[in-house]
Symmetry: C2
Subunit: 664 residues, 2 copies
């Protein structure tokens, strides 16, 4: 729906957004490349303003440490992080025409089509409203007319609905079973696609002239932050907890990108890695500031039961009830909501959905998505994952770097445990280049494992341990090179690997949702359906103020220049439209660009220095001396005044210096 | 040299910059990847501030159209632009150990080493000052001790010097000849490297799941802007001239990156494409605003004569004398200088060097680099190229898209010329999928070519034309499908392809130069050599103000929080340092971070609400009530007041509430 609650015509909106150059398909004169879009001037400015607010809301407000890491990432890093093996989608192929299909989307498409056919057969109205899933909008055309009205058994309908409610929870094998069990066929050919295979989503390249260093374009900004953890901790003078943050491009080689800006191959991310002590249940010092914020939750259990009904409650209550695991995660969920509202996202179209087990990324132990409702259904826009100690641990294990926090203990503690003692003199020379890796693997063993190794060493005179990447993954170490001793030591320092809470923002998806949530047409106010408006809050609007001279009369030029200069000094971005179009048309154009305010310079201005100020949403106008108007605009943009305040302070203007079509 | 003119210890500066996390090698715990660096918090903030000033200085000041295009670029685009064939460096290989060498750097290294050896043999002092070339600093270590003191003939010295003055002007064959002629050998093995071969500098990848769409990471942001030209022109309501601009990452797979931030594989660029009518010698409406700006020029002829002596003159004079080709190019050179000065680059270390013919990128017809002098010599930081109509023409020719401006003529003109007439009905079916390409090739022929084709058609009944990519590049078209007629028509519209002036900024190189130009140590003022200072202008400083409570006494906490909040409201970024280090140490740390101002909260503050304000460069302090100090900081950061103004308005503080080592 539009901002005013009317049905949204997505095609009309997208055509307007492209016409006004918010975004446009990349390389269009070369036929385009799916999943790649460029932002034009208003899209760029909107993005810059949203990023600016993000930086203030998160980074500055909480003294986060911003970093800017490279996109190019060597193979080893992403092998260790698990992305090389696990960052993949399930892909199948049509055996007849070679179509490549994303397996989960394919299953979803076909089942939905059948449910739709069933409804038609039962004589029920197929409401657009039911198009609530994110992947559906793009398919409407394809389906139109293609839906066969076939009635299904009630039990089958129920089964399909349950499958769809947890579609994100199936692995490749299960998707393959669904395809055969329900005989799902590609409508284009009538064939069942091949069993799903895993397709890694990272773009690969090679670094350097000799092509021997494999690398990828990063799929997330997070890894660079993890690798710099020790340096950042030191920069923060060793104090915990703290967060790093990064804003930058990431890349995913989507199997079949669609739905415009919602599923693209290159996108801007803003990610926070909040490092926290896992002891003490991840309390957050500022949780009390947000505990009364109310959110709409859709938890894991509700989804697994086949339902998508949300529950509204305060974050304080949700943490108390255990719906949300801990305060730190809860704090960020609430802060995310506040941010989304601040930039103009419609609160009624926000829900927080918990991931189901199979759906979660390989590094996450819990995850809540902030989903925004659009004409393409609910869209994941912000992921809040608890990555536990996963990433820091695997990188530390692989490299031997101490990605830990050392905390001075108030009282020293005595520890008795198994200690690994390596014969340094002979160990290295014996294993040569693998020595360090094998040593790290030994040192990484748990106390429980060491207990077993002690016995093995006693009984066999050697141990066999797992060392991925060395030989066949198994390495023998004899008792000449290794001892495992029960030792006592006194510790003054507690060493721990922090856990990570990661709010991760897909900026492009947020921007698209924001454009949809801000859109309406003058028809809602009894005006023209063709006249679109984007009601962005002034803080994010690409341009804050339009300056329109009444006509191209040269006498207006110095006034225009002066006003433009004064606005710039006041920190308000403005644009002049001195084209020959009528004032009404020029304002209409800028309603479509989301420009909240407009100043008209007319002949009266030349006489007494007054100008009119128009507000975009109401199209109402006030008139006063230029400096008063500038002060009013500045206050409106800063958010210190509302339009109501301005109307109560400055005289309304209802004159007709212009031939604007009044639509109210 | 440092800001204060002392010899610069580059190793000390780099170690400080890394320690303070301005930047750090990426993936260091994995051993690092050469040519990749991450920016830590101060580097990030410095970068953001420089970008912010850039946006204001260029984009806002001249209403440029900002766009954000994708990095991923399909093969066809870069094939057309010439990058696939020509964006390369010359690489050779050591036949013994397989070392890969960049040919021009190799020749330069060896000749410089020999010249150094000659000087030593002649008993001359080898001055560090002579290390004026950008590629030398990194090699110092390698050369140290490795230089053989061998005297050369005077004629040989002269020859070497002339080669070095135009080292950027040789192609691969010529570099190969230099290697054999002067018997240049790799010091590591004593072997001559193999003849130079071309190595393309673009990172390659493939887009989509079927791996059949080859793509590259863009080597410049420019192509995205060119491809969107028609849309941008329309957005600008058809008005010329106008400029687009883009800030984003670009990628070059350097053969052997070195010299830290100065030669990297992933870097941030800010590029302007200014589109201008080629008729009327590229005048610029605002040229008069900059005509008195004085620049240091090193033109092409001077370099070819073997000299590197610059000539200082105003840009007005330079354009008048023909040193700089036209006003638009001149306007941007001056604006670039003003920008560099604004962010704190030392004007004495800026020169504008014109490219020699062989050195120019394949798309440029003229190019001036703004070079900044650093400890690594003169470094190209901003390139100002005249790309003429090259890019728009090749893309239009390849795709058939009308990348032109249509200008209504005041008076219609009559044109008589050869017209290509294609038999549309049969042409397409005959050539099938190649039809459009062949048609475009025919339509792209010049009048002169058409004159010849007419004859060919008459004589042979067919023509043979070049169509790259179709068959073997030659296509026959018979007179059944094609006629070429002498036709007269009246035109009301003039159609032209704009020329492009492109100022292109390498942000990382500018940032590194800025850090060097801002650096000095307290030794210059009689203090401690180990105490480094980065004297950034307040506008670009990562943090504007440090807040230091005298001690960790809890009573200071509310004051600290209040001050921090007030500064944030005033739009001034601040950081609190409440660590246990002495005040002097905390200020020292922030001198290294380039923080221009510091406020101390002490016991007096709790009594009367006054605080002290310290200025970084002079280390002098004033004391006043908090609100007065905040107003002073705001004015200093905005640039409306200088420190001298503040000292004259507020009482100096020379007390000793702290144990700071006074170094002046």
């Amino acid at each position: 729906t539009t901002l005013k609650g009317q049905p949204l015509d997505r095609a009309a909106l997208e055509s307007m957004l492209r016409r006004r150059l918010f975004y446009t398909p990349s390389f269009e004169i070369y036929g385009g490349v799916s999943g790649l879009y460029d932002y034009g001037p208003p899209g760029c400015a909107l993005q810059a303003n949203v990023i600016d607010l993000w930086r203030k809301h998160f980074i500055l407000e909480e003294d986060m440490l911003e970093v800017d890491c490279t996109v190019l990432t060597p193979h080893d890093v992403l092998k260790t992080s698990g992305h090389v093996d696990k960052f993949a989608d399930w892909m199948c192929k049509d055996p007849k025409n070679g179509d490549i299909l994303r397996a989960d989307h394919f299953v979803e498409d076909i089942l939905e089509q059948r449910l739709k056919g069933d409804k038609e057969a039962r004589g029920l109205k197929v409401e657009e409203k039911e198009e609530t899933d994110k992947k559906k909008a793009a398919k409407k055309k394809k389906n139109k007319g293609g839906v066969e009205a076939v009635k299904l058994d009630d039990a089958v309908v129920k089964e399909y609905e349950e499958i769809l409610a947890q579609i994100d929870n199936y692995n490749g094998e299960q998707l393959g079973q669904l395809i055969t069990k329900h005989d799902l066929r590609n409508p284009a050919t009538g064939f069942q696609p091949t069993p799903p295979v895993s397709f890694n989503l990272m773009f690969q390249t090679s670094i350097g002239p000799s092509s021997n260093l494999a690398g990828y374009l990063r799929p997330e900004t997070a890894q660079g932050q993890f690798l710099n953890f020790a340096k950042l901790l030191e920069f923060n003078t060793g104090q915990m907890p703290f967060a790093s943050a990064s804003i930058g491009k990431s890349y995913r080689n989507e199997i079949s990108p669609r739905a415009g800006l919602l599923r693209v191959r290159e996108f801007l991310m803003a990610e926070i890695e909040h490092f926290v002590d896992p002891e003490g249940h991840k309390k957050h010092a500022r949780f009390h500031e947000v505990e009364d914020v109310e959110l709409a939750f859709l938890d894991r259990h509700t989804q697994l039961s086949g339902s998508t009904v949300v529950k509204r409650q305060t974050i304080g209550q949700a943490v108390k009830d255990g719906v949300v695991d801990n305060e730190t995660l809860g704090y960020f969920l609430a802060r995310v909501l506040l941010f989304l509202k601040k930039i103009g996202i419609d609160e009624r179209k926000i829900r927080f959905r918990q991931h189901m087990d199979n759906e979660m990324a390989h590094y996450a132990c819990d995850c809540w998505d902030a989903e925004l409702h659009t004409s393409a259904g609910w869209v994941e826009c912000v992921g809040c994952a608890d990555r536990s100690a996963y990433d820091l641990s695997v990188h530390a294990k692989k490299t031997g770097a101490p990605l830990v926090v050392r905390q001075r203990l108030e009282e020293p503690i005595t520890i008795e445990e198994w200690d690994i003692v390596i014969d340094k003199k002979n160990f290295g020379p014996f294993y040569k280049k693998d020595g360090k890796t094998i040593e790290n693997a030994l040192l990484a063993t748990t106390q429980e494992q060491r207990g077993k190794l002690v016995k093995e060493l006693e009984e066999n005179g050697k141990v066999v341990i797992d060392v991925p990447g060395v030989n066949d993954g198994k390495v023998e170490v004899s008792k000449d090179l290794l001892a495992i001793k029960w030792a006592k030591r006194v510790e003054n320092v507690r060493e721990y690997t922090p856990n990570v809470i990661e709010p991760s923002f897909g900026i492009g998806r947020i921007l698209y949702s924001l454009m949809e949530h801000s859109f309406w047409t003058r028809a809602s106010d009894g005006g023209d359906e063709a006249r679109g408006v984007l009601s962005f809050p002034p803080a994010v609007a690409p341009t804050k103020c339009l300056i329109v001279p009444l006509s191209s009369n040269k006498d207006f030029t110095p006034e225009v220049r002066k006003l433009s200069q004064k606005l710039r000094s006041a920190g308000v971005s403005s644009r002049v439209d001195d084209s020959s179009a009528s004032i009404g048309k020029r304002y209409s154009r800028n309603d479509e660009l989301g420009t909240p305010f407009g100043v008209t310079i007319d002949f009266q201005t030349l006489k007494d220095g007054t100008v009119t100020l128009r507000e975009r949403d109401s199209t109402r106008q006030v008139r006063a001396e230029e400096d008063k108007i500038i002060a009013a605009i500045k206050a409106l943009v800063d958010g210190t005044k509302t339009w109501q305040d301005v109307e109560s302070e400055l005289p309304l203007f209802e004159g007709q210096q212009e031939v604007e079509v009044t639509v109210r």
